[in-house]
Structures are given as C-alpha cells and as structure tokens.
Amino acid sequence: MAGAERAKSNKLNHIKSMKKNFCNLSHFQLAFGFTLIVSGVAIAQTRTVSGTVTQNQKPLSNVSVSQEGSSDVAITNSSGKYQIQVSGENPVLIFRHTDYSEERIEIGSQSTINIAMGNRENQIEEVVLNAGYYKVKERENTGSIAKVTAKDIENQPVNNVLSAIQGRMAGVNIVGSNGNNSGGFDIQIRGRNSLRTITNSIINGNEPLYIIDGIPIGGQMITSYMGNFEPTRNVNPLSSINPNDIESIEILKDADATAIYGSRGANGVILVTTKKGNSKDIKLSLNTSLSLSTVASKMKMMSTPQYLEMREQAYANDGITAIPDNAYDINGKWNKDRYTDWQKTLIGNTAENNLIQLSVSGGGNKDSFLVSGSHNEQGTVYQGNFREKTNSLNANYNFESTNKKFSLSFANYLASRSNDLMNSDFTRRALSLSPNAPELYDGYGNTNWEDNTFTNPIASLNGTYSAKTLQLNQNINVGYSFLNNWKLKINGGVSYWDLEEYMLSPNTMYNPAFPAGASSAKSTSVRNDTSFFSYTIEPQLSWSKSVNKNTFEVLAGASYQETISKSLAVRGTGFSSNALLNNIMAASVINMENLNETDYRYAAIFGRINWQYNNKYILNLTGRRDGSSRFGPNNRFSNFGALGGAWIISKEHFFDNIHWLDLVKLRGSYGITGSDMIGDYQYLDTYSITSTPYNGISGFIPSRLYNPDFTWERTKKAEAALELSAFKNRVNIVAAWYRNRSSNQLVGMQLPLITGFSSVQANWNATVQNSGWEFELRGTLFHNSDWNWSSGFNISFPVNKLVDFPGLDGSPYASIYVVGQPTTILKLLEYEGIDSVTGQYKFKDANNDGKISILEDAQTVENIGVKFFGGWQHEIRYQNFAFSFLLQFVKQKQTNYFRDMTIPGGMTNQPEAFTNVWSADNPDGIIMPYSTGSDQNANMLTTFLKYSTAAVSDASFIRLKNIQLNYSFPLQGKFFSGAKVFIQGQNLITWTNYFGLDPEFLVTGYIPPLKTYSFGFQLTF
C-alpha cells in the first residue's frame, strides 16, 4: 500500500498549498478527486500473472485462481494453465480446487507462478493440538484431546466460553448452575471422580485444572456472599474472559494427555489459548453485537380461582371451620380477585446485552502482535437497574529470530468486571407466592406491606450486591534452539485475581413495622476483599532426533507454583442514613468478619519420551513427580505417569489398495493421575479465630476434626480408541472407550452431628469407576464450489459405578450407597399411587413390618444421572452465507418438582398440574386431597412422597442450543477487507417432558437458563 499512501500524502501537500486559492472547493469534489487519484494509483499497477497448476506431477484443470480481495476468477484449462490480472502492491493469489486444500501465495513482483496442489491428507496432519507442554499433530496423537476453535465460539451471545462449548465435545458434560450472567458451571470430564461436590464440601473436588495460555489458574475463588444467587458459590475462572478473545479450547481427557499434569490432572485439564497475531499486514477489526434475553423455561402455576379452591378444600379436609388469622390469602385480608403472574413480574424482564470489540493485529517476517479490547454491558431479567460491565484487553507479541533459533512471546490478558446485582434470587419466590398476593406498590409508589401481612419481595431489591473483579494473566515464553536438536524453553507467568464485594442490606429491605426494618440503625453492609496472586515457572528442555526410520522426542522439565490468597471481610452495622452504606467507617459497630492469608506451594518434575517408528508406530511415555503443600508432612510427594501408544494401520502395506480409507488409527493409553483439590491446611490441628467476640474478647473455635494422615487420591485411567478418516477426509469417525478408577478418595467423610461436625477429611477406601463410550462423527455431506454442507455428531455414554467399599455396612454411608451401583443413586420409598379407598398415598412396605418409615422402607434404588448426552451440529455455506445450528441432547433421570414441593393446600402456590386432585369422582388424581399443613398424617405422607420414586422422573431434553446465520460481504475496496453480519439465537427451543422448572439446572430456586436473540456485525479493515 506504500505507493497509494505516498500518493495520498503528496495530494494532501498539494491540497494544503492549494487551499489558499481553492478553499471554496466543495467536499464532494474533493472526495471525488481523492478517489480518482487513489484508484488511478491502483490501476496504474495492474499486470498479468500466469502459470501452471499441477498435482502429483500431472496438470490439474478446473482450479479457480483469484486475487484475494477481488472477485475476478480465472480457471485452469486442461493443461493446467491460467492467466489473471492482478493489481496493487503485494497481491495474493488464491488457488482453489474441490479435492485439494486451498493454497494462498504472495506473489510479490513475479509474473509466473507455478504450484503443485497437495492432497487432503495433509490437512488432517496439519491440525496441531496443544497438549499443554508440547504440541502434537492430530494424526500422531496418542491421547484423547477434544478441541473447539474460535470458528465455533465466535460471536455467540454467551458470557462464559463454557456455554459455547456445551454439546460440542464428547465426554465433556457441562451443566450451568443458573441463568445469571456470571453463573457458575459444573464440568464433568468423563464423569465425577470425587465425591466432594460443592454441596457437601467447601471445595469442589471435581474441578478440572484450568490453564490459560500456559499458566494454571491459582485456585477457586470462593465466596460465601454470593450464595444467595449462585449455588456453586464460586466464580468460574473463565467468566471474565471474552469468548471472542479465545482462539481454541483443548480439553485433555485420558491418562496419556493428563498424566503429565500429575497430581492435578485427575479431573481433566482445560487449556485455553487466546488469540495471537499472525497476519503479515496490519489488520483492524471491529466487532459489535446486541442481544436480548429472557428466561427460557416457565412453570405453569395455578390461577387465582384454582388456588383459592385448593385452599378452601384444604381447610375443609382438615376440619377447620374458622379460617385462621394468618391465612391472609383466603380470610379476606387479601383481595381474592387479584391475579399476578409472579414469574413474569419478578423474573420476566428482558435483559439487554451490548458488546463492542476492537482489535488490531499485524506483524512482519520476524514478529507479530495482537491487541484487542472489548466492552460488554449486560442487563438482568429482574426488575430494576441491575447490570454487569466487563472490559477486557488482550495483548500479545510473538517474536522469532531470522535463524529461527530464538523465540519469545508475551501474552497478556487483563479483564475487569463490575457487577451490580440484587442480594438474592427471586426464582423461588416467583414460584411460591400466592397468585392473589397483594400489589407490590401502593398508590403512592411505596413498597406495599399490606398492613404487615405481606413480605414484599420487591423490598429485597433494596439490598444490593456489587462486585468488582480484576483478573490479570501474564505469560512469557522464551525458547532457544541450540545444537540442532536441542531446545531450551522457559515458560513463566503471573496470574492475579482480585474480587471486591459489597453487600448492602439496608433496613428498607424489611417491613418498617418490625425491628429489622425500623430504621437505618439496623442496616448492615459487608465488604469482602479476596485476592489470589499466583506465579509459575516452568523450565523445559527438549531434544529430538531422527535416525533411520525412528524419530525421538524427549522432554524434561520442572514446574514450580506458588499461590498466595488473601481475604478480608468487614461488616458494619447501624448507620445514621442508608446513603452511607458504602462506607463502613460510618457504621456505629464495625466488626472484622474475616482476615486471612493462605499459601499454597507446588513443585514438580516431569518428562516425556515419544518414539515414532516409520511414521506408523508411536509410543508416548510421560511421568511426573509432584509435591504439594496441601498434604501432611508425611505424605507430600507422589509419582504419576502414563504410557500411550498409537498404531497407524492405514500405513501398513495391506492397506495400500484401499484408497477410500485415508487414515485408520488405533490408540490406547494407561496411566495414573491424582488430585489435590482439598483446600489448604486441612491436615493441621488448629483453632481458628472467630469473628464473633464475646465481651470484646475474640474467640477461638476448633477448625476441624483432626486427621493428619490423608494422602493423594489416585485415579487410574485406561483408554482405547479407533480413529478413521475416509473419502479424502470427507468423513471422520472417532470411537473411544475409557475406564477410570479412583481409589483412596479424599472425601469429607460424612459424620453424624454428634461428632460436632458434619464431616472429616479422610481417605475413603472405596473405589469409584467411571467408564464409557464416546463417539464422534464429522463429515462433509455436500460440497461444490458454491455450497458446502458439513455436519458433526458426538455422543457419550458415561457409566459410574461404586466398585468396592469394604466396610460400607458399618459406615455412615450404609444408607446412601450400594456396591455395584452408581454413586449417584438415591434410595427411595416405592410409590404405589393413591389408594382408591382412603385417597392417601401408598408406599411399599419393604420390610413388611406393617408401617412405613423412611429408615426401613426406602429400599428402591433409582439412578439419578445422565445415560447419554451429546450434540449434533450442522454448518451450511452458500457463497457468502453461512448457516449453522447445534442441537444438544441429554437423556437423564433427575428429581422433579415433587422433591421440593410444599404440601398442596398450604399458603404456597402450586403447579397447575396439582389441580388434578384425587377424589371419589376423580380416581386418577395425582395429588392426595388438599391439606393446610396442620394435619400430621398428611404432612407425613407428603414427606414420604418427596422421598419416594414419585420424586424421580425422566428429565431428558433436546435443546436448540445455538443457531446462527451470517453473511460476509464480498468487498474489494482497499478500505474494508471484510464485513460480516450475523444473527444468533441461544437456547431457543427446548423439547422435554420434565416436570419442573428446567431439566438442565437442577438446584431449585435459581434462575433457569436464558433464551437469547442477538445480532451484530463485524468489520475488518
């Protein structure tokens, strides 16, 4: 472009000097003249380029030759010859043929370009997988690594990239916890190995290892203040990263891929690579989108007449003639004609989301860079002005010396997010409030307490939660090749994560008639600061050599990580005015709730030996010795390792004549990994400082039950897989079988409360097995020069089993687990329907003792879990249009609405399905005759129902997860090199028979997933 620029600047100078004389030259004429000159410059540089295209030394016809950025096309004739006009400086020619990979040649000032087109097999070889410490070509890979690239992630209207990859990877089950913007996720990579989940322990023991640009994330950012609307109680490490900044995500699943991560790879490893610069020209791109979201699922609840009918019947059935004073809904205190759809009022708002991103990338022969910044603003589905703003900056720089011996790269990711949310989640109230509950506001716009009978949910909006997160990841990678075969690499990085939370609870959240709401002297405000600072150093040395038909690659390295986390929480109570809540210094009582600093250190050495023979047989041996500060002094170190192998059968001579099969590969691996996700200092016998002083003297409480002996969990993983590629790579199939066994599990062993605690950290001598099958099918269904239709299908069949537990019968787990069954079972009463004579729920008396008790008779085993899951995606391209959609499907059984119900007839709204109540005239009713909750027998039977097989049912669903249509404008101007417009939809349709709010999110009482429509455009300069 230099010539045009020179011309431009000459013109400007000319204009400047001419200005005095021609200052009344109109703008239009100026622009016209400008364009003429520019195009003149361009036209002046047109010339002819010609050449021959061959393949396998034979001329190739029907190859389309075009210049990048132009729509002129030339086709090679039967002799493979072509001729085309090119213009501009540094023109680029593109050669396309249906059967071969596209070639892109910068022709510089040459006029003759001859090329040989390769075959498709090269393409599969060229897919390079990031395995963490090394890169491996997909073809030579001996482990199980799933990969999703930017192409599938880009522009999806999601906040966390994990939502974008749901349903796309076999063996990876990602379930969101709620529909809020910064909602957490439960990720199971080949099942749950550990019994420690966030519901039964502080730390989620199934959390995989997150690595962003080579730097592991220091820990789990857990906060107790978010518990009201975030059931996982932690902030997912990827939630601040803009999905558009991600180049690829690789998930390492089996032993061969994860053993090199030793003690932290048991639950799988998630490698995130952010986008880097790679173009030789300066490229500027602008990306913006707008999304609108609403709650995707709704529960059909009773209308006011149905509800009042239920209540009246309930009192009649209980024999209560005088309606109690506090039954405001039917004693006339509340207006019986009112109706409010509480789901619509409380969580029915449309959330608006705006994203704008600008990125600059470029480079030269030796280096390249990328800088991209984004700003994202999101609303919520609640009433009120709650929003979340995220700003991110991704900057990286890569340098390679001319002799390719020295390489250096910096990657920097900075994200800052501020949340303004409410203090609690409305979903539970939206489902339980009586349909005739009073108005939210009185005639004057004030909160309506309806004479102290109504705990108005709107008042909770006065309580706010705001959080500011700052996340900084910095990674430096230096490599130096010497003596031909050796390479020294040092990977280092720093990760800093800071979360500042304010939880303001003014007295206006409560009714002023009661002490808690009386005045701002009761208002409280909490400020909690948590930060992680983590640094990692990993020096590595690698050596490779080819001798005859053998190729060796050896890698040895060491890793050291330290994470320092600090937390500080202060609570202020009693303010002279609610306007002062943000400054705790103004409180009359200030109390330090928490002050702590913890240290985590981790050191390891690891190595890898990879041996390939004749490009056919591959053996990969990895090992690691780890030490972690989380274990007691006697048990700090342990060894892990794996052996993986692959046999490329299609290279054998008996495959020489089978041309339709491109690749047949058999691979397998076996190894041992571990897990240290147990929280720090758990082996100590200590007292902790409490935050509740008595008479001003701070207290100490025992920190935990003491067990100094716990050691590493060990998970043995075995895998075997077959990979096929056929019809010139039009069809790719992967079938894999895996079996993981975890023993010596570190669990918070559940204890009866008599011990003073509910659990103790101990190794459980039981063995849990996760095994299953994964299938992936990818193919190009149709392809010609205008159309391309490709499709991908993946399905996983996970099976979990408690293989062995000596001593189960005498342990606290005797009533929960059964050897030979999955660990996700529930032992329930067998529900036998409603008795046709008494109209009461019937249950099977398993021990025939004449009475029903949960203790004795809950013997029916129901497996709550996923039977299979997967996704089916299609991508159709027609010229400049691209259309794709992903269907996610899950077959599972889960607990349904019955599990958490309150007795129908009490002062709580019920699903419309419960209007189907049993009576002598309606023997098919599903609910016993209504009761108000004051009849002990009815209460007992309802409790039995909740713990019976009625509470478990099919929760399978198919969801149209993502659908998008985009159009790329075929631009040829020098100003814009690309423009794309897109429309996307997320979670648009769900097909399910589930009886409950949403089949995916199973912790009740939180926002269900959101349905989103978005549109936007992308411009490249």
Binding site: A513, N596, S629, T692
Partner: protein, 459 residues
C-alpha cells in the same frame, strides 16, 4: 562433544539439586488466622479466648439463646404460652408450635446440631486445659469448671427435649460417630455428678461485674434444678436455701427493672455480641403494628393474669390490628443503641419458685408460702393463705411459673414435664399427644448412626 557433555552434566546436576530442595519448596507457614491447638492452651488469655467462643455460641445459637434458635420461644410455643405466626416456616418452627413435628423437621435438627457442636467445643476445651502445662492451676480449674458447666446445661436441655441421648465426653470422632443412646436418668445423674465436682472450682465472686460469665451460684442453681427433676428434695432444698441467702442476690422490687442488665437479682446473663445491638428477644418478639411476625402471647397466657398483675401491664403490650388485640411479649424493649439490656438466663426469682416447689413437695406448706408470696407481692397480687392444700399450692406454683417466666427458657414446659402434667396441654393444644413429651431424634442422624435406633415412640 565436550561442550555437550558439560551441558548434559550441568542439566542433570541442576535437576538433582531441584529434586532435593523440593521438600523445602513445598513447605508453608501456618495461616494467619489459625493457632496450633497446643498454643491455644499455653496461656490463660488464649484459653479464655476458646471459652469466649463458647459463650458467644450460647448467646447466639444455643438452646439458651433468646432468639429463634432458643428454647424460650420454641418450648414456649410448644406448650401454651405463645402462639406462632410465621407463615413462611415449613417443616420447622410452626410445626413445633402446632405439635405436629416430624422426624425430618429442620428446627429439630438444627437444635441437635448446634447442641452437639457446643458439646464438642466444651470437650475440646476440657481436654486442652487438662493437658496444659503452662497455665496456672487456679485458672485451669476455673476454665475447666466453666466449660463443664456449659456442657452440662446443654446436655440437660438435650435430654429434656429428646429423652435418651448419646453422651459424649471425647473429641474423637471415631468414638462419637457410633455412640449409642444413654437413658435420660443416667444422663441427669452424670451431669449432676459433674456439677458437684466443679462447683467448688468456681468462685462465688463474679469475674465480670456485669455477671456475663458463670459463677459458683450459677452452677448451683442448675444443680438444684436437676435435683428437683430427680426428686431429691433434701439436696435441692439445702442448695436453694443457700443460694437465696447469698448476699450477692436481692429480689428486684420494681417489675419494670427486672429485665435491665443492672440488677442484683441476676445470676447469669448473656451480653449481645456487638456493642449496642438489641437483645435477640427484643428483635424476635417486636412488632409495632399489624399482625405479629413470629410470636405473640396466647389467649391462654392472657387468661391466667388478673387485671391488677403488674407483670401483665409491664410485660405484655397490646397491639390492635383489625379490631383484634395481639399481645406483644415485651420483657425486653430496647431496640436500638442498646446499653441497658442483656439476655438474662438465670435470675434469683427462679430459685424462689424452685424452693417453693420443693417445699410444697415436702409438704412444708408454710415455708413454701414464704417464698411464693414474695414473688406474688412484687407483682401486686394478693398473698396465698396458709390454709391452702398441698395440691392447690402445687397448682398455684405451676401457674406462677407461667406468669413469671413465660417465654423464658421453656421453664413452664420443664415444670409440667417433671410433674407429669404435660397432658394438661390437651386442654389448650388440640394436636397434643402424650408421646409429644419428647421430640423425635433427627431422621438424618439415625441414617448416619444406626446405633441411635430406635426412634422415640410415636415418630
């Protein structure tokens, strides 16, 4: 070649050095908010810190608490003093009020969980202090005695609420997780012996003039209560007489000052955790208009007061809503900037009524009347005459408990229970059944520790 050899050697050397120094690399210091257990019991101040945490548990979440987790409101509504109004309580406190609690009741489980946590804390302090080598003997005795007292009072309530319960004196979870139940008589026996042992280890003089820590008399009053439950009248009489005669205590003549923190009638009270915050009782029972939020006086409670009883005037405030009178429990009144009210656990008036009860049981009518009449006089009631029969006197004492101690620590329930009079509740509580004299053991506990079987009858 040579350079390569050197490079190889230095590489191996480097890695070896790395390995051997690995041990030190992964050692970390203790976090700043934790202390090793031995360190806690190395000095009196830190050991008192451990005790302090137990006191604050008592105030905030134990059965003695004046708020929603205490037996004051729970047993008050379980019997016939209070009516419950919490429409949002499901399978919790309202079921207790209605006497229809199931074994899965969340409040039943919470009380159990809190109690055993406090017992663990006490056992941990006792074990730590006994093994301490650097604390003075005098302080060791005092700290142990206070911890034993707190443990004993929790066990006392546990056995009154649940009947036969597991009795633990160890912090070893291997033992505790499989503990079987001990019969309630044995539990009472054991805690009585424990108290007899520690009474001499406590001083009569309060270590804090606001009487927020226990002294010898507090332990004695609990011991006396246990004697009354065990029907050991002579022991009870002697102990109670001694307590009443102590110069530390006087009867408060002004009804309106009984629940203020400065008073010589107070034996033990609990200070709010944060300066200036109201007592849990004031926060729980307060409402200024409309219908009560959680609890208010029952009709039965109102009916037992005569119009000239000062206690009705000062402690029960009518609030009108919809032409109906709701009576607010108004013993503790300060809601903001509280500097004058602490939650009273034991006051001397209880010793008077206990002694009156004991003397009545011993048929010492005259002496009994001496004590009960003092209480009646302060309340403005007429005195009982000497011609009263033993049964009538016992009834009068029973009603006097209700008038004086409604909403306090379940005292009425305890009085009915030890006299086998719980079935009189059938008159006022429609759902009352005789097996309701104890609560069910939490169902989840029976699942985790099968040695706790069988469940209490009826549940």
């Amino acid at each position: 070649m040579k350079t390569r050899k050197i490079k190889n050697i230095s590489l191996v050397l480097g890695l070896w050095i790395l390995c051997t120094s690995c041990e030190k690399l992964v050692e970390v210091d203790l976090p700043i908010n934790q202390l090793n257990t031995e360190q806690v019991f190395e000095s009196t101040a830190t050991a008192d810190g451990a005790l302090s945490a137990l006191y604050s548990e008592m105030q905030a979440s134990s059965v003695l608490s004046g708020g929603a987790s205490g037996v004051g409101c729970l047993l008050g509504s379980y019997a016939d003093d209070l009516d419950g109004y919490d429409i949002y309580s499901v399978n919790a406190s309202m079921d207790i009020y209605n006497n229809i609690q199931l074994s899965t009741n969340t409040t039943v489980k919470m009380i159990w969980a809190n109690a055993y946590r406090e017992i663990y804390m006490a056992n941990s302090i006792i074990a730590g202090i006994v093994n301490s080598s650097s604390i003075e003997e005098k302080d060791k005795q005092r700290i142990k005695a206070e911890a034993v007292f707190l443990r004993s009072i929790i066990y006392f309530y546990l056995t009154q609420l649940y009947g036969d319960i597991p009795f633990s004196t160890s912090t070893d979870y291997n033992i505790n997780q499989a503990l079987s139940k001990s019969p309630s008589e044995i539990v009472l026996d054991t805690i009585a012996k424990d108290l007899e042992d520690v009474v001499p280890m406590l001083e009569n003089d309060y270590r804090n003039t606001e009487r927020i820590y226990v002294n010898r008399k507090t332990a004695e009053i609990l011991l006396a209560t246990i004697y009354v439950h065990q029907k050991k009248w002579t022991n009870a009489e002697n102990l109670l007489t001694q307590i009443i005669q102590s110069p530390l205590y006087n009867l408060q003549q002004d009804i309106s000052k009984i629940f203020k923190k400065d008073g010589k009638h107070i034996v033990w009270q609990l200070k709010p955790i944060y300066e200036g915050t109201a007592t849990p009782e004031a926060l729980l029972y307060g409402f200024s208009s409309g219908v009560p939020r959680y609890y208010a006086a029952s009709d039965n409670l109102i009916s037992i007061f005569s119009d000239n009883d000062e206690r009705k005037e000062k402690w029960l405030t009518p609030v009108v809503s919809n032409q109906k009178n709701y009576y607010k429990i108004d013993k503790y009144q300060t809601l903001t900037a509280n500097t004058d009210e602490y939650s009273i656990v034991f006051r001397i008036q209880e010793a008077y009524l206990l002694l009156a009860e004991v003397l009545a049981e011993e048929n010492k009518i005259e002496e009994s009347l001496f004590y009960i009449n003092q209480i009646r006089q302060i309340a403005g009631l007429s005195l009982l005459s000497g011609s009263i029969s033993q049964n009538q006197l016992k009834n009068e004492i029973s009603i006097e408990y209700q008038r004086e101690f409604f909403s306090e620590r379940g005292i009425r329930f305890l009085n009915l229970k030890r006299n086998n009079k719980l079935d009189s509740l059938l008159n006022t509580k429609p759902n009352w059944k005789s097996y309701n004299e104890v609560w069910p053991l939490p169902a989840s506990e029976l699942l985790l520790n099968p040695n706790l079987n069988p469940q209490n009858t009826g549940y």
